[in-house]
């Protein structure tokens, strides 16, 4: 089922959480809402769920407005960041809850509920734990119970609020893969909120980058990563080096910022005429000559070698090179090297973090 949010505005007192936001989620896709805290991503998710009523705008499921439909009757599945399991109920009772509270004439028979819960627990790989209480489970298991509980009522859309936010890194990565596979299996229109760019880029079909109550960019992970639409998206997705300067050829004193991702530098021996530019040089200079400086630190215990270069004005430039290149060039701390960008993106300096 498709979801449309049309011109949604939501204020909390003076604070504008969502500012005229429109979004179309295609049927069957897995969409990520990505942004820093306070960007409005969770509020948008809660508006879609019906937990918040928008001040303006409309929410439509398959073209039909559900704005005035109570959360109870929207038919959404929702997974909370801190699981929100019912702690006095067993896993089985938690998962069966949505079925047991149905009005009498819609409620499945006891045996059917049992079968459905068993089926769901197998789906989330928790069969055998039906009799446990939430406090007897690990974080990852709890989150999977929460997911089974949300799926039990056969929702039309699945909404997940920072689903892996409270878990440690390894469990997170596992659950992330698993969610991706689960989604391929059940093909349910799903929206999840995250502040973790890796999570969004790895799991989602499309990513919505949000900032200050507005959508900055919507696109596939490749689109938002390789062709960021704004300085904010550039900055937020992955590490990047910022170089202040004026836009070349622009007579007005418009400030611009040049961005270079660490892996888009190549490392060179400094040329004979070591005329290094300072970090405030223009984009032109940066492109032709790069940045020369002394290597401060090398982190080589990972897939890519990270190098910190201290430029003439003292600011640090982050460079990433492959292990092979590292072996070939053999740079070491204290030496002077030049980092020349292969690719520079320039944005007008019209935003602040």
């Amino acid at each position: 089922m498709s979801i449309e949010a049309l011109n949604i505005t939501k204020r909390f007192g003076q604070f504008v959480a969502l500012d005229d936001v429109s979004l179309h989620v295609r049927s069957g896709e897995l969409l990520a809402l990505l942004g820093p805290s306070g960007s409005g991503k969770t509020t948008l998710l809660r508006v879609i769920a019906g937990l918040e009523l928008p001040d303006e705008g409309d929410v439509r499921f398959d073209g039909e407005s559900v704005r005035d439909r109570h959360v109870r009757k929207r038919g959404v599945g929702f997974v909370f960041q801190h699981y929100a399991l019912f702690r006095h109920m067993t896993v089985l009772e938690n998962v069966a809850f949505g079925l047991r509270v149905k009005p009498r004439h819609e409620r499945p028979r006891r045996a059917e509920i049992h079968d459905r819960v068993g089926e769901l627990l197998r789906l989330v790989h928790l069969d055998g734990l039906a009799g446990r209480y939430p406090h007897e489970l690990s974080g990852g298991q709890r989150q999977r119970v929460a997911l089974a509980r949300a799926l039990a009522v056969r929702p039309r859309v699945l909404l997940l609020d920072e689903p892996f936010g409270a878990l440690d890194a390894k469990v997170r990565a596992e659950l992330r893969d698993w969610l991706r596979r689960l989604h391929e299996e059940i093909q349910l229109t799903s929206v999840f909120v995250t502040h973790d760019q890796d999570e969004a880029l790895e799991v989602a079909d499309r990513v919505v980058v949000m900032n200050r109550g507005k959508i900055e960019q919507i696109g596939t992970p490749e689109e938002v990563f390789h062709s960021p639409a704004s300085a904010f998206v550039m900055d937020f997705l992955g590490q990047s080096n910022r170089f202040h300067g004026r836009v070349p050829g622009n007579s007005a004193r418009q400030e611009s910022i040049s961005y270079v991702r660490p892996h888009e530098f190549e490392l060179l021996k400094p040329s004979q005429s070591t005329r290094s530019i300072d970090a405030t040089g223009s984009g032109d200079q940066l492109e032709s000559m790069g940045v020369t400086g002394e290597i401060r630190k090398i982190y080589s215990a990972s897939a890519l070698v990270r190098i910190e270069l201290s430029a003439a004005d003292g600011r640090l430039v982050h460079v990433q090179i492959s292990q092979e290149e590292f072996q070939r060039l053999a740079p070491s701390v204290g030496q002077t090297w030049t980092a020349r960008p292969r690719r520079i993106r320039v944005f007008a300096a019209d935003y602040q973090i």
Binding site: G50, R87, V101
Partner: protein, 288 residues
Amino acid sequence: MIRIGLRERCVRVINRQHSVLPGFGISLGLTLMYLGLVVLIPLSALVVKALGMTFEDFWQKAIADPRVMASYRVSLSAALVAGLVNSVFGFILAWVLVRYQFPGKRLLDAIVDLPFALPTAVSGIALVGLYASSGWLGGWLEGLGLKVAFAWPGIVIALTMIGLPFVVRTMQPAIEQLESESEEAAAILGATRGQTFRRVILPILVPPLLTGFALAFARGLGEFGSVYFIAGNLPMKTEIAPLMILIKLEQYDYHGAAAIGLVMLVASFALLLLINLLQAWTRHRSST
């Protein structure tokens, strides 16, 4: 949580040599001495006094005497009813104080403590003034055929007033700790407000409600000051057990007073034990 689980307590005792906080020995020693002086020694003196008489004598004075027996009934029934009334209305009051914002909320919150702060005799006199046949409410109620002051309902009203803060003050923190997310989760899963309350909220609040009830009930059993004025103290009808102890003492019947005291001590102890067991059972089901 008000009570720490037994297992956690054991773990703390076992781990004491690793504790960064010094002074386990001295603080435990002080605690035991204080408890002994203030609670245990007076209670054991009562037991010793009561044990000083023959069983025959004890039976005659504390059990077989119909007037004493009637006083147990009055005390128990009035404290029980007052405790139950407070459990219902104290719960609602605590809910309103935690969940809603309204003008005068802080004042209302402060009023809840009044029965704690007021000398109980003052409460008793105030209630007599209100419920006696010459009082505002008393005259009107008597017109309806309901006698409150100097009767059993009067005792219940006095005990309700005295016990209210116990229920409200135990429920408030528990209600504050409820996670709003569980209620949202229940609503999204299709539960109505009623179902959410019955299946999600209430089970979590039963243990603190039992605690509140136990405190209010125990307080009601021992209450003397306020009841003394409103009960009328009619033998066989509105005499409470603490009053019987006073009457025995006034007759220099120390053994009789100690015997009644012992019965009340055992009864209170048994009730507290029962409620603790009930709590342990419900808490086990809802522990985090």
